[in-house]
């Protein structure tokens, strides 16, 4: 199937200012898309409010608007461009590609749909249609959809009184439980109950606080293993997995703030293939027609139960990582798929001979570690949770996990050569500890391991030096023993090296 000939101009929305949670990865993806589509002879109209981006360099688009990314403003641009195309005597139409500029672009495109702007001016959305975006983004619609196609999700139920709440808790059958009151401002009155008493108190308070006297009780996946799949789909419904990712940090930490590793390390092929099948089922059910999606899974470390957490019907931060990790240019190919190409019609950039309809297989390990800047935000709570707090990331490739981890820690540019053993002192709060001196206090280590934070990876070393066993560290962190034993090998080798020096 050749590229579409009914398109004249493609409107691409950028991601706006660089903020925490939305950084230069979308400059990368939009720039790639502009190049790929211009190469195909389409006229590119770009909107982005941030002039300090590569994409706004004049050579990437035929017309660049450095304007606020608001529905009102983009509507004005559409009006202008439709007129401009008329004046040019353009044969084809104007289309909107919303899936490369992150959440900002997606939200703006959705707003334009809801206002009726796109319909009014006959602007078609390519890549993902509005209803697909809605199915992917709305939590309840998505959850119901997953159940309807036979996939598993966290168990939950609504309650209007304590008896109902107890019944839901009974159905879930284990603690902790998440309580979310309906329609309270910012979710006030919600929380996680770790025991029966806490549950009773929270459920009662939640029902009282909710204007409709309703709470959602949901099973907590804290401590479960977290995985991600990067999927691509073309118009002929060919689907491929570009990259599988295993999170070092278990569920509870935003994947952008998690240390992540590609490919998946601790799943058997049977389990991996179930996840692969589920990924395709999700992208098809949500209805992302072409391009990439990121799908997140939680897996119980005790019995392998696999639940769908969420999906991003667009190019995401993980896509940038997956592209660099595998050499498969997701953004560029997503753009080509959006204008009608099929995966087997696009050449693989690495081999230049074989087509893009393949699944990259790698003979190395990729580690990504987020970079934080809490020193610049003294008021911010440095505990990691489901809201992204990192300002960037480093990525490293190695033939072993140990090699990639050490290279990655060094690349963070926080002055460390790796996990430790480089002779530089450790500053923890107001205290300073020697690198290879007495082990750090056990209480401090226990505290730093029990809740996720930016330095936790280093505290695993401190803990091992202080004599904590892998099992003890696992119980505090729920980080998979496979990762912990790998770190143990690095720490043991540090001792071996030190012994030789002495």
């Amino acid at each position: 199937m050749p590229r579409r000939t009914d398109i004249h101009s493609v409107l691409i929305i950028g991601a706006g200012p660089i903020i925490i949670g939305q950084a230069c990865e979308f400059d990368y993806s939009v720039t790639q898309a502009c190049k790929a589509l211009r190469e195909e002879g389409y006229r590119i109209v770009l909107v982005n409010s941030n002039p300090a981006t590569i994409m706004t360099d004049p050579e990437f688009a035929d017309r660049t608007y450095i304007e606020p990314i608001t529905p009102e403003c983009v509507e004005k641009i559409i009006v202008r461009e439709v007129e401009e195309m008329k004046r040019m005597g353009a044969k084809g139409k104007l289309v909107l590609l919303p899936t490369l500029g992150g959440q900002t672009a997606l939200n703006t495109a959705m707003a334009l749909t809801k206002r009726g702007t796109l319909e009014k001016y006959g602007v078609e959305m390519i890549g993902a249609k509005a209803d697909a975006i809605e199915r992917g983004e709305d939590r309840q619609i998505f959850k119901d959809l997953m159940l309807s196609i036979g996939l598993d999700v966290p168990i939950s139920g609504t309650a209007h009184n304590l008896d109902e709440a107890r019944a839901v808790a009974e159905k879930i059958g284990r603690l902790p439980l998440i309580i979310r009151p309906a329609y309270t401002l910012g979710g006030t009155g919600g929380g996680i109950a770790y025991n029966r008493d806490e549950f009773e108190v929270m459920a009662k308070r939640g029902i009282e606080l909710s204007p409709v006297s309703e709470i959602l009780v949901e099973e907590s996946l804290l401590g479960w293993k977290e995985y991600e799949m990067e999927v691509m789909r073309d118009k002929a419904d060919n689907c491929v997995i570009i990259c599988s990712i295993e999170n070092f940090d278990p569920m509870g930490v935003h994947t952008g703030d998690s240390i992540t590793v590609a490919p998946i390390q601790t799943l058997t092929d049977k389990e991996y293939q179930i996840m692969r099948d589920a990924s395709f089922a999700v992208i098809r059910a949500v209805g992302v027609e072409t391009g990439g999606s990121n799908i997140q899974f939680g897996v119980s470390p005790d019995n392998g139960r696999m639940v769908i957490i969420e999906m991003n019907p667009r190019v995401s931060r993980s896509s940038a990582l997956a592209s660099k990790a595998t050499g498969f240019p997701i953004a560029k190919i997503a753009a080509k798929l959006a204008v009608g190409y099929l995966l087997d019609e696009i050449k693989n950039d690495i081999t230049r001979e074989t087509p893009a309809s393949f699944e990259p297989t790698i003979d190395y390990v990729v580690t990504k570690i987020p970079r934080f800047a809490f020193e610049k935000f003294p008021q911010a709570d440095p505990t990691l949770n489901t809201q992204m707090k990192s300002v960037g990331e480093a990525m490293a490739i190695g033939r072993t996990f140990k090699e990639s981890l050490q290279k990655c820690l060094r690349s963070l540019e926080i002055g460390r050569s790796g996990l430790g053993g480089d002779g530089k002192p450790w500053r923890i709060g107001a205290d300073v500890y020697e690198d290879r001196g007495q082990p750090l206090p056990r209480e401090l280590i226990t505290q730093k391991l029990s809740s996720p934070n930016a330095e936790r990876i280093f505290f695993i070393r401190h803990a091992m030096r202080a004599g904590f066993s892998v099992e003890e560290i696992f119980n505090l962190t729920k980080i998979d023993r496979w990762f912990l034993v790998q770190i143990k090998e690095i720490v043991d080798f540090e001792e071996e090296l030190a012994a030789v020096k002495n």
């Binding site: 159940l147 966290p154 058997t268 389990e271 692969r276 392998g304 087997d344 790698i362």
Partner: protein, 383 residues
Amino acid sequence: MMNAILALEDGSVYRGPGFGAKAEACGEVCFNTSMTGYQEILTDPSYKGQIVTMTYPLIGNYGINPEDIESWQPHVAGFVIRELSPVVSNWRARQSLAEYLEKNGIPGIQGIDTRALTKKLRVRGALKSFISTKDISDEEAIARAKNWPGLIGVDYVKEVTHKKPFLWDEKDEQSGQFELARGANKNTPLKTLPAADIPIVAFDYGMKYNILRRLRQHGFKVQVVPATATAEEALKFKPAGIFLSNGPGDPSALVYAVQTASDLVKSGIPIFGICLGHQILGQAFGGKTFKLKFGHRGGNQPVKDLVSGRVEITSQNHGFAVDPASLPTDVIVDRINLNDQTVEGMRHKKKPIFCVQYHPEASPGPHDSTPLFAEFRELIKKS
């Protein structure tokens, strides 16, 4: 720790820590690009006579479990990896990879540069080699590799085929699909098996369990016969169709199997062949097979269905291929490999026969080709 050696016929020698059994073996060294599924690969009878190296460097992470075996024992001659996991981490694991290989008498070597080895194999093609975890000099090890007669013309099928016919899983205890625990959605429609209403005969050239499971899951009642069974013997079971399995080694060494297949082709019965079964059918049609330089082994081979235009990501394990130029005009090539354009599927224009060069049963590998089993069912129903 044991010291291990891998010596190749070209004189190169790799030394590294040994694992598994204290043993030695000759074999053809080949590489597999799957990132998961080492347990299935070890127990696939198609690997008889081969020393397998995994291109993915970290192996053994999830250990060995009772569900993922694909036959009664591992068949590889030796196993070559970059780094053996010091720990096993998966809720299904019952033992470590090293323990498993030790129990089954298979030598392993780790810590060598498997990337350099793979690059060599890509240029030189699969090489005769020798692996040992015993004390042996470089010279002697190289000599052992050189003196090994190799795979060409050798019949390994006779070594891995079941010697007697048997009916697969009469009580329906082993054919259910692997499923994970469920929470919010307890629906597991895949676990219940349909009625086994179509009797077929499956020729076992070195068959994996998952083929039998998949056939049963699609409503076939499967009578397995040894590779050496004749067409007459097979047809005595009054099957509605014939399945030709995968298997090890050089397809041109299997004169008896090709004879049986030509007799079956003549009989007009519906036939579905995979991997070695596809190569045997190719010869039965009057075509020829040839040895690929370094073969297709892995779970990411793109195959294009030339009729529908769709692309499947397939699981493959073969060192030989059918030469399309040698095929008669009533056989069409309907699937090709997008990496090297080699034949991946054939279909007879007049008879109800089709075959694929890859593994629709996966295990390990993607499930994209599972519909081929349903296609076989349709084909039988139509004829």
